[in-house]
Symmetry: C2
Subunit: 159 residues, 2 copies
């Protein structure tokens, strides 16, 4: 088992753009989002695929299991998950010891930009870059699984 400890923030300016070292087009769909587990399929640049099973979150922490699968399986399972699918371009932005992931959403979630950072411990200090806005780590509306079920992103979620 892996453990995922993640904090998530709105993005309030474009300051991160000059710092991007890598980007990838992600498509991800949800086969399950019940209380026990979230089951996600994700393709990366339509070339690689993983299935990820995440347990229930306890605060910022949740169990996570991830397995590489054939890209064909990934594409088929994305179709199976429709319409609960998210499209986003993920940008890697290294700052100090941390690697921020800035996700620019597309499709029905266009306009939403979120920055995530994965931590080793829930109490690890996180120096916030000036382009990071309000923290939404514990706001379920910003969970990708929740977003996949929404028809769009209301304006009040963007500020």
């Amino acid at each position: 088992m892996g453990i995922e400890i993640e904090r998530k923030f709105l993005v309030r300016s474009d300051g991160w753009k000059a710092l991007v070292t890598q980007r990838a087009a992600l498509r991800q769909g949800y086969l399950s989002t019940n209380a026990k587990a979230t089951v996600r399929v994700r393709t990366r640049d339509d070339a690689q695929a993983v299935v990820t099973i995440k347990g229930a979150a306890v605060g910022l922490v949740r169990a996570e299991y991830e397995y590489a699968i054939p890209i064909e399986d990934g594409r088929e399972m994305l179709a199976m998950a429709a319409p609960h699918v998210i499209e986003k371009v993920r940008h890697l932005v290294p700052i100090g010891d941390l690697i921020w992931e800035v996700d620019v959403f597309g499709g029905k979630h266009a306009g939403l930009v979120l920055a995530e950072v994965e931590l080793h411990a829930a109490d690890q200090p996180v120096p916030l870059p000036d382009w990071a806005g309000a923290e939404v780590s514990q706001d379920d509306r910003y969970a990708n699984a929740s977003l996949s079920r929404s028809d769009g992103v209301p304006d009040e979620m963007l500020v």
Copy 2:
């Protein structure tokens, strides 16, 4: 993607027992059983584990994706799936060109014995052994995912 085409029968006598070539103790739990997909984790003799994602059934046919995973992950995900877990001993019973799987359930499903046979085509002829009883292929109560959610097996399901 694999395709699963399966027929399932009650078992009305012990005639199969003399024909068993292999047996394994299976524990399987369900992380999701929604309309889109069933997500199952299964351990075999507490030594091997797989995660299996099955699409919605169309008649006897459903899409199936199966991936081997580390046994430790399998055990942890079974705990995550609790109490929606099934224990059974699976017996392989070759008859002619077909390999029957006779599942003797334990735990809260003790008393239930089901015989399954996997086919290449939905219309493939299946010569029925004399120990095979009523067909329950399309009776959702006998789906393992349904059984995992039940507290036991009522008498009327055993005949």
